[in-house]
Assembly symmetry: C3
Homo-oligomer: 430 residues x 3
């Protein structure tokens, strides 16, 4: 395997973001292939091509879309919309068109946002053959009357759907799923940075000297149809998914939002909460709801996988959402690193969680004779390792995991894990 | 059956209220019969006469009480209390009396409210033979010393207890019970308007072209002894009661109060909450407590029927309660219509509630190809039919009813029901 | 048995407090024996001596510690620390020492509290042989340089651990455990007053004419090692413990704090809450946590006994905690009596709690014909005995105890118990 590029510094991350940003991605086509190829310089993604027409539960893989150019010439021949300036200018999956239309007819095919007059909206028409242009409302107001030349040089033809996958085997077959979507064109928070975040986490896991406890599966898929295809082809294996996270909207400056899995109270859901608490991140926790991103598929009722979504500001809740204002200024490498810290802490908690049995369940064991108790007590300060040890000893009854003890006590999981290791070393736990 | 009078306009309702108001009702007697006879002009109530002495669980049907006149003449022969002016002037169920008493002796038999000096209190002495007069405290302070002539021209004799019943068969034998009490004399919120409200609802149900899902049973009974008699004679059948509501205090201008059934979380209890939410009515929900009105009997521990009470301001919580100030000015036809809207919505929710199975439980079905999805998405506005469809599809797993989905999602039950019908039409639900 | 001294007035209590205060207690030794001997003047405590070296679960009974004198002479021969003035001046369980040390060396053995410069801290070194002196920080700052004479005239030798026990048989073998610790030297809230409180309660129980329902066991033990020894020697019998309370910090002026048992929702835990509510005591309820006092041993995972702790201001939450400022001015006989009221109410609730079956479960029984209902109703005031009777009748379904009915209704347990007795007398309950 060739030498990889690393994502260690903010500058490394910024470089990758800037390379990925201009590419015109969609749910199929060369934009996705180019995106995955760049990511392969960083992590050993395996790419899959699923042919047009392939059945996937209730769905069918659509035709492949590719676009070379698109523009609008005004009556004076001035290029008033140019795909080369922003790929958001074209309704994603637009069929090819080459025609002349008067402005009043053309208006039906134009999309802008009066409430955000300087932003180009992001529009798609995946499963309904159509075409259109998006532009800022300011530009739209300036369009002169008359006949326009309309060109979209695209193709919609049999081809395939492309996705990337990376499986990192752990000591156990149970796996943790980390999923992001790769179909959105030039937008930062949704979801260029999701891809970067997962690449960063994958690199870290690959560079560990020892195998993780859980296996990890990273999926880089087009939204909706991607997980539907993957799940339909791996239906029997999903029971191995111990927990999963959908990475989207991970790089704005807002506080964290955790959208729980449909089951709502899985070990993974609780690990995220403890990670956010321990890292003292401002956050809100919201219940699952069946709109949103790919957790919709993972949490469909026939599957009901324990998959949540850890975000900064949630989709639809920031005004730049689904517009050209969700650009590289709206996100930052710093925020990706910050969000990665919470993902990492969550994975660590899951990796290190365990349930033990106190080997001296009748009254406390004498910590002092084992050197585990600071003598010349009693101390005034309650928040000591002794306190954590008392929690672990008292609740290690086979029913309470270390995660639960951390939740109950309010003591950081890492402290709980640390004292559990001390107690294990003294054969006080098993 | 003769042509019925209708309760469609505020004026229709006002007319009925004004006819019922002056009647001197009690738990037995001609006042109740006259009341039910008037209601029969509107709905085909069946009346039942249960003879004095009939046993009903721990109770016995009491003697029948009738009153023709009552008054108090002061030492100058002036009629200072006159039953003909307000039937509240006589303690309800007073035995006949014709005597002369000095004021100081008479005082023991007088009842007034110093804290509400212009209101006549409502007093009864049903199961303890006694007599008395009620008057405003202002009037009482003006009574001159001397000997008074005391006349109550009443009879307390074997007879019967009268109640009205209306059964409207539905497609199912399970029934919804709507119960009100008919024993209170000239008071508006407690409970003349309860009778009017249920008459209005009964008319609506009777005028439906199609049978309802549930059967409906309307009971117009004297409070306490009425439901005790009815329950004792229909003990075996109460298991058919799917849900019930006691209608009292339904026409003042206050916000709504829902007193839950003893079980507390039945489908009916939750339907009322959703109805209040969907109609955006200010309200409070309170737990069952075993004092109050006839829900006390329906929710006695041996029966524990799912019966709650949907009110405006609860009994005992408005200062006019159990006084002459609870008159036709304190209530309004408009408020009855408003309250009826919440009763109707509750009944609709129960009628239309169902639990389905998503026929495509693995990932989402493709709504677009069925014309169920607005193309050119993604839309910015989340509160669309699509959102409701995602909720219904995701939670139609055989465990979540439409009512539960409405509760979880915060989406109006009618919207949830509407999209469920769309999904059923496309065979996406079953 | 000799005539007992009584704890009836504040003055009686104050006298006992003043006798117990100066004694230098520790986890073993003559201070404990002297303390128990004084208490035996009030209650017939049985004392037990458990020899040094006796195994108790993971622990071993330590050597017995006794101390006669201790002091520090400054370079001028001035006695700057004198054990006779406060036994807190010596680190409890200090080994004997007789040496000379320069101030800089001596400093390592001195303990003071810069944040509380006029208080002597309380320090112990039970299971690690060591010695030291405690003094106010103000005194410490004044110590002149030079060589000090250091004398601790103590012995640490084989002997025994002493504890007191009082068992009061009730009608049932199930017992209520009341436990306090006797090892703390001259401090008032922690825990001289805990011993006084339990003595007062024991006297009351002993003076009752009739046997209590539950048996009572009072334990006066050194903290930690005491209950560990007792539990290890009565392991098979602990299943008889129906509920227990650890009495500590019972006499400051703060609001009440109830620390729940580990199980959290036992009858006893709930009885304390109702007692605090009924007596209208300002209080907070906190979940069990496995540091604190002897509830740590009673609630260890292998035992998990239903033992909580009812305090005023909790240990560690008042600034005088574990210092000489926790003296007889910080506590009062009045507060002990006040706290005893809540203990007593809790014990009464447990004693009087029961679950009945309504003998007329179908609708209400007719209270009026039994003289249980005030006629000339309806009353305006809801909080009558009638209301309490309705609660008891409605919820006496074999599933709800009187305590639960008191909790649900918000009606004082004593009222609930009173009406239950009325209803029992009329055979309405069984």
């Amino acid at each position: 395997m060739e030498k990889k590029k690393f994502l260690e510094t903010e500058s490394d991350i910024q470089t990758l973001m800037e390379r990925l940003f201009p590419i015109c991605r969609s749910i199929t086509g060369n934009g996705v292939r180019e995106t995955l190829r760049i990511l392969q310089e960083y992590i050993p993604l395996v790419t899959h091509e699923v042919p047009t027409g392939t059945k996937a539960f209730d769905w069918t893989v659509p035709k492949e879309w590719n676009i070379r150019d698109a523009y609008l010439l005004d009556p004076q021949g001035k290029k008033v919309i140019d795909f080369k300036k922003s790929n958001l200018h074209v309704v994603n999956y637009s069929i090819p068109i080459n025609t002349r239309l008067p402005l009043n007819k053309l208006q039906e095919k134009l999309h802008s946002l009066p409430e955000l007059p300087d932003a180009i909206p992001y529009k798609t028409s995946y499963y309904n053959e159509n075409w259109g242009f998006c532009l800022t409302d300011a530009e739209r107001q300036e369009l002169p009357d008359g006949e326009y030349e309309v060109v979209i040089d695209s193709t919609l033809a049999d081809g395939s759907l492309t996705y990337g996958e990376l499986y990192i085997p752990g000591m156990e077959k149970e796996e943790i799923l980390l999923s992001c979507y790769i179909c959105h064109p030039s937008m930062g928070n949704d979801n260029l940075t999701g891809m970067v975040l997962l690449s960063l986490l994958a690199q870290e896991l690959l560079s560990q000297k020892e195998k993780s406890r859980y296996s990890y599966r990273f999926l880089f898929l087009p939204e909706t149809i991607g997980p539907i295809v993957w799940l339909s082809q791996h239906h029997a294996e999903v029971s191995k998914i111990f927990y999963g996270l959908v990475a989207t909207c991970v790089a704005d400056s807002g506080p964290f939002t955790y959208k729980k899995s449909r089951r709502g109270n899985t070990v993974g859901d609780r690990a995220v909460e403890v990670a956010l608490r321990d890292l003292q991140k401002e956050h809100s926790i919201i219940d699952f709801f069946p709109s949103g991103s790919d957790e919709r598929q993972y949490c469909s009722p026939g599957l009901d996988l324990p998959v949540g979504s850890l975000m900064r500001t949630m989709y639809g809740k920031f005004k730049e959402y689904h517009t050209s204002a969700d650009n590289l200024d709206f996100v930052s490498a710093k925020n990706i690193i910050d969000t990665a810290g919470v993902y990492r802490e969550t994975l660590t908690i899951l990796d290190k969680n365990a349930t033990y049995m106190n080997q001296n369940p009748f009254c406390e064991p004498q910590l002092g004779k084992r050197g585990l108790y600071v003598s010349l007590g009693p101390a005034k300060n309650e928040e000591t390792n002794e306190t954590a040890m008392f929690w672990v000893l008292n609740y290690s009854d086979g029913k309470h995991s270390l995660l639960m003890i951390s939740e109950m006590s309010g003591i950081a999981f890492r402290t709980i894990r640390h004292v559990a290791d001390l107690l294990l070393a003294h054969s006080l736990l098993k």
